[in-house]
């Protein structure tokens, strides 16, 4: 089984650009988004999307779908920010409102201030999500690990991350195999039966995972494991001047835009 994000990270057009360069661009933009304001957010979002769809060559349908998934969560979090409930009389509501609904003594309303707050939040979230997707879609996890090792993150942490990353895929494959086996042997219909099947699946999955773990520890021992998972990465990454120049220029423009709109 494959995870789409992971596959794309290994196959995109920016694959051979140095992971450090991509990480620096992504992280600086992410930090910048935290301090910037609405108009700049839109600019960052558009620019990051150009990187993802244009330069990295991620199909726009996939990118839209990924954004859609995040937007769903965002949309769910907006009503609590926008909606206000009050037990006071309508006359006492001082702020401008777009919508009011009353039941009994209670009034539910959306104020203009709330709308503004929500839209600012939405824009900020979307633009930071685009920065995050840029990192996730263009830097494979193994290269993130290599960078972490280089900047001196303790081996213990990187080893754990490495094994976890390997295990995620072994685990998914096991889940898929078991699930297919259940279906092939005539998975039953109906909600309660499906639930029972799923329960059985989880129990088997646990047993299999423990078995896998034992096998892996034997495998590690056979390959001379001595408490340290050291590997060398032979990477052919290069730092792209063209992208560095564009990143620097556009970043300056964005700072200027932020300064000009923020005055």
């Amino acid at each position: 089984m494959k995870i789409q994000l992971d596959t794309l990270a290994y196959t995109n057009r920016l694959r051979h650009v140095s992971p450090i360069q991509k990480l620096v661009i992504g992280i600086i933009m992410l930090c910048f988004v935290m301090v910037a304001h609405a108009p700049t957010h839109i600019a960052v979002f558009v620019w990051m999307s150009v990187w993802i769809v244009g330069y990295a060559g991620i199909p726009w349908r996939i990118y839209l779908r990924l954004l859609g998934a995040i937007s769903l969560f965002l949309a769910l979090s907006l009503p609590p920010i926008m909606l206000e409930i009050t037990a006071r009389s309508i006359a006492e509501i001082t702020e401008q409102t777009v919508f009011i609904y009353s039941f009994g003594v209670f009034h539910v309303y959306i104020g203009v201030a709330g709308m503004k707050k929500a839209s600012a939040l939405l824009l900020r979230s979307l633009s930071s999500v685009s920065c995050l997707y840029f990192i996730l879609l263009t830097v494979p996890f193994t290269e993130i690990l290599a960078v972490l090792r280089r900047i001196g993150v303790p081996c213990m942490v990187t080893d754990l991350l490495l094994v976890m990353y390997r295990f995620v895929f072994v685990f998914l494959e096991t889940v898929e195999q078991l699930w297919i086996a259940y279906k092939a042997r005539g998975a039953r219909h109906g909600f309660s039966r499906k639930m029972r099947d799923a329960g059985g699946l989880v129990a088997r999955l646990f047993a299999r995972t423990v078995q896998r773990y034992q096998q892996l520890s034997i495998g590690l021992a056979a390959r001379g494991f001595d408490g340290d998972l050291r590997v060398v990465a032979s990477s052919h990454a290069f730092v792209s001047r063209r992208y560095a120049a564009e990143a620097a220029a556009v970043f300056l423009l964005l700072v200027a835009l932020e300064w000009w709109t923020g005055r």
Binding site: K2, D6, T7, Y10, P140, F141, T142, L145, L162, V163, Y165, R166, F169, V170, E173, R212, Q215, L216, I218, G219, L220, A221, A222, R223, G224, F225, D226, D228, L229, R230, V231, V232, A233, S234, S235, H236
Partner: protein
């Protein structure tokens, strides 16, 4: 003969199991040979392999490397695991790092090589095993045949003296089995590695091996050169292993077409050639 590894009267029972997996097994691996370990599923082949590189310690008996008994101390074990490479049946079990090049480098780094030296060796191994194009591919994007090749490369890069292969052809199709056997042939010829392969493909064993071990219920049932072992039809049939197809065919042909003294053909091509010659005569 010169023995690389000796197993003497080894017994091992898995915790919680009633029957022993190895029950007084004695066998010796001759240096420089291509050996095959035949036996049914569950006869103790995998357990035996795990004894051969010191992962399991026998409950009774001794395992010796070049005449010296295993000591099971840390330093000894890390040395022995470099000298005895084990390739598991399921490559998922031994692939650790996430990209092909990184995984191959793992053993080298554990062996304490410098980064440059390790990189150079990884590069050589990638070329030797035809994996150059997969260098930076994550392991989970590979097919089973490719994963098996990566696992083999990761073990061979350490230049072990003894290579143990647990059912290397399991789940592989004809093409990939051929490729794998070719690869093993090359390893044996060019690097002089002693190979022990566990399998239940009796035809493959006959075609490839110089030395055959037959294991049954955790004991050695037969041992010797293929011609001698497969001539013991009574024992093999008794164990439900049977004899190789080629062996049977030859036996049917022998008195009428070929003199009994003629050496047996080891593969189909050889047999075809001799039949052609016989028909021309």
């Amino acid at each position: 003969m010169d023995w690389l590894l000796e197993i003497e009267d080894v017994c091992y029972t898995y915790p919680g199991s009633e029957t022993p997996a190895l029950n007084g097994l004695t066998m010796r691996v001759p240096r420089g040979k291509r050996c095959v370990l035949l036996g049914h599923n569950g006869c103790g082949k995998s357990t035996l392999f795990l004894h051969m590189n010191g992962i399991y310690a026998p409950e009774r008996g001794v395992v010796k490397w070049k005449g010296e008994a295993f000591s099971y101390r840390r330093t000894f074990l890390s040395q022995i695991r470099q000298k005895v490479g084990l390739v598991f049946q399921d490559p998922e079990q031994q692939l650790i790092a996430s990209t092909v090049a990184e995984d191959i480098s793992y053993g080298l780094c554990s062996a304490g090589l410098s980064d440059d030296e390790a990189k150079r060796k990884v590069e050589q191994a990638l070329v030797r095993f035809g994996l150059e194009h997969f260098r930076e591919r994550p392991v989970h994007h590979l097919s089973l045949g490719q994963k098996k090749r990566v696992a083999l490369a990761g073990v061979m890069v350490l230049e072990p003296e003894l290579l143990l292969l647990d059912e290397p052809t399991a789940y592989l199709d004809r093409l990939h089995t051929r490729l794998l056997m070719k690869e093993l042939e090359r390893i044996h010829r060019e690097e002089g590695t002693t190979i022990v392969m566990a399998t239940h493909d009796i035809d493959l064993a006959y075609e490839w091996a110089d030395w055959v071990f037959v294991i049954e219920d955790g004991r050695l049932a037969l041992e010797g050169a293929p011609n001698e072992v497969f001539a013991r039809r009574d024992v093999l049939e008794g164990l439900q292993l049977g004899v190789p197809l080629l062996f049977d065919v030859w036996e049917a042909l022998v008195p009428s077409f070929f003199p009994e003294t003629e050496a047996r053909p080891r593969n189909v091509a050889d047999l075809k050639e001799r039949l052609a010659r016989c028909l021309v005569d």
